[in-house]
């Protein structure tokens, strides 16, 4: 997966065409609502499947970027905002060169204890298809009465069922942004994993162990839009902070979600020396002022905590591989 080239122009044309047809990006959502047949779109179905982000001739330095958001009742507007803003995220990432060949995956989660469609995850794509994938998400708007959603199921899937060349070939971590205003359940439920993903687990896994596995291959950030039902709930914020420390981003304005993602990647890649530079990058790329400010506010805490990027050396090292007696990853636990 992940082979076509993103084109800003194609996206704009696509939007224009939609406007002309007066349909919105959420075709599938409308389809479900009009037919009343509640099901995961076949291409967003993950049972027994792996999602792959691959290098290709056109995209030799792919970087996997996954964005999975909560589609329960409290979060209803976020996916629509994401879809509208997508053009500028891709443009900023490409034009500013934060990453060479971004490949983006979209997914949605709900509550596996009560929703009909609690997990939907698309493919990693480098072109217009990701707009298609967004269009295949059904926004169930469910969720239970408590403040938990099944984020852990998505984290489990990303940790164990994705294969990404940026890490496997070049030891470069991908990115995962989860977005939501509630807490993950502390354990991975054996029945839910069997039912939705198709794995047989011998016992429930702790969320910590899944996150630690995930952190091997992804920079994981959680974005809490604070203008949602539970976004200001301190219990929710603390739960994520315990899990991810400084990698929790409090976003005052959900409209700024794409700008926040772009800035975060820029900071992690070390291509942005400071948050202020990132702001001006976004401005040049055409993002609106309010959104930039909101993104920047969300990132202040993280930006302070990021260690300076390590200096780089160039030159030759001969005999680096000689005498390796086994696969260097054999010792991994």
């Amino acid at each position: 997966m992940g082979h076509s080239n993103w084109s800003d122009a194609a996206f704009a044309a696509r939007q224009a065409e939609r406007k002309a047809r007066k349909t919105n990006a959420f075709d599938y959502d409308q389809h479900v609502r009009s037919t009343g047949k509640v099901a995961v779109h076949p291409e967003m179905h993950i049972f027994g499947k792996t999602r792959e982000s691959r290098d290709s001739d056109m995209h030799p330095q792919s970087v996997a970027i996954a964005i999975i958001f909560d589609v329960t009742g409290s979060m209803g507007t976020v996916p629509r905002v994401l879809q509208q803003k997508l053009g500028s995220l891709m443009r900023v990432l490409l034009l500013r060169g934060y990453v060479d060949d971004p490949q983006i995956l979209f997914g949605a989660i709900g509550d596996a204890y009560c929703d009909s469609v609690p997990i939907q995850i698309g493919q990693f794509e480098s072109g217009l298809e990701m707009d298609d994938n967004l269009g295949k998400i059904y926004i169930e708007g469910g969720g239970g009465g408590q403040i938990f959603e099944s984020y852990e199921l998505a984290l489990y899937y990303m940790a164990y069922h994705t294969s990404i060349d940026c890490y496997e070939k070049r030891a470069k971590k991908g990115y995962l942004f989860t977005i939501g205003d509630e807490k993950p359940y502390p354990y991975i439920n054996v029945d839910q994993v069997r039912h939705h993903i198709g794995d047989e687990l011998s016992q429930a896994l702790s969320l910590d162990s899944v996150v630690s596995e995930l952190n091997q291959r992804y920079h994981h950030f959680h974005i809490i839009p604070t203008n949602t039902s539970h976004g200001k709930n301190s219990e929710v914020q603390q739960a994520w902070r315990d899990l991810l420390q400084e990698r929790i981003l409090l976003l005052e304005d959900a409209d700024a979600v794409c700008e926040t993602i772009a800035l975060t990647i820029g900071l992690c890649e070390g291509s942005l020396a400071s948050l202020a530079l990132g702001e001006s990058d976004l401005h040049k790329a055409g993002a609106d002022k309010q959104a930039i400010q909101a993104a920047s506010n969300a990132l202040t805490r993280f930006a302070k905590s990021t260690p300076k990027a390590l200096p780089q050396a160039s030159g030759t090292l001969l005999a680096l591989e000689d005498g390796a007696s086994h696969d260097d990853l054999d010792g991994r636990l």
Partner: protein, 358 residues
């Protein structure tokens, strides 16, 4: 020998190593070098080339430069060797002529920079960069916490940490460490004494390891791979140094990777991915001691010559459940000292048995 100046100049243009100019140096290398140098100077001397003064001067200048480099290489013992490492870093230009040592995860290039002996440790697979990061973090923590402490000498030193980009575009983490001289790994000692070392001779080694671990744990760290290959000993002054901090974690976190060939030396909590504790290191230290005293695998292989009290102490370190095991390095250190006093009387320096270690 070059017959004319033009040939000599052409040769000078093509070489990249002094040995390509001066050739193999037999016998007393310095005298041999001087002789070849004089031959070349005689050949290029401006007096012999009255019509090519400028070319002759240039040839002489280059010969002198190569002569200086050859002398420098001779004094470093690297004359005629080819370059294995040539790196431009923000901290300087590093060159090494030595074959790297290969560890479990890294290649280690010994090199000399401004007279200082360094070890450039490069991770072979970028996927293990996180382990190098753990080493850098642990060594920085140790330097901050133990600066000026007499026990600082039980630990390695980190000078710099940076990334190297390979031709394939992969980033490999590099840790630049101080080279530790005159030491041997505990593995080589174990190999040299297959029937086991006398406890009286092995005692100081255990003491150094325990002191180093006590400090490590005070700093909130677990070493995570206390194995014979990670313990260096200096038979001259009986120092012990704990090296390779790639596997270290803060107390309470799980150890992420093991050395596969030493799987049997890890306590159960590591393989079960449970939190690492000071007791984890003490278990592994006791396994080292077990091997040092002559047991390849289990306690019951120890010769009856190993005092019963020592066997009991080791058993208490090797209890599978971490919370029942020794969990405090200083406590174990004290108990071991009491045991030694009972067995041998007050501590005194015993010269290490003379044996060839490699």
């Amino acid at each position: 020998m070059q017959s004319n100046l033009a040939d000599l100049l052409e040769q000078l243009q093509q070489i990249s190593q002094p040995s390509q100019l001066f050739g193999t140096l037999d016998g007393d290398q310095r005298s041999a070098l001087r002789r070849k140098y004089h031959q070349l100077v005689a050949q290029a001397h401006p007096d012999l080339h009255p019509h090519e003064q400028i070319a002759a001067q240039e040839a002489l200048r280059q010969i002198n430069e190569w002569y200086q480099q050859a002398q420098a290489q001779l004094s470093q013992g690297v004359y005629g060797k080819s370059i294995t490492l040539d790196l431009n870093t923000p901290f300087g230009h590093f060159v090494s002529y030595n074959e790297p040592w290969q560890g479990d995860l890294c290649a280690l290039y010994p090199l000399v920079d401004n007279g200082q002996k360094l070890l450039l440790k490069v991770v072979r697979k970028g996927q293990n960069n996180d382990l190098m990061e753990a080493e850098a973090a642990a060594l920085q923590r140790i330097e901050r916490g133990l600066h000026g402490d007499p026990l600082r000498g039980h630990f390695s030193s980190l000078y710099e940490s940076f990334l190297w980009k390979s031709e394939q575009g992969a980033l490999h983490r590099v840790n630049l460490l101080g080279q530790i001289e005159g030491c041997f790994t505990l593995s080589s000692v174990i190999k040299a004494f297959p029937k086991g070392l006398d406890l009286a001779d092995a005692a100081w080694i255990f003491n150094r390891v325990l002191a180093a671990l006590a400090k490590t744990h005070q700093l909130g760290l677990v070493h995570g791979a206390v194995l014979p290959c990670h313990i260096l000993i200096d038979p001259r002054d009986h120092n012990g140094i704990l090296i390779d901090w790639c596997y270290s974690v803060p107390i309470g976190e799980r150890i992420r990777s093991i050395s596969p060939s030493h799987k049997a030396d890890y306590p159960p909590e590591v393989l079960q991915k449970l939190p690492a504790q000071p007791a984890t290191d003490l278990y592994m230290a006791a396994r080292c001691m077990l091997h040092l005293l002559g047991a390849k695998h289990e306690l019951d292989e120890l010769s009856p010559a190993v005092p019963k009290a020592m066997q009991a102490l080791l058993r208490a370190c090797l209890i599978p459940a971490p919370h029942r095991r020794y969990g405090n390095a200083w406590q174990l250190f004290d108990d071991f000292r009491t045991l030694l006093e009972k067995l041998y009387g007050p501590a005194r320096f015993r010269p290490f048995p003379a044996i060839n270690l490699v």
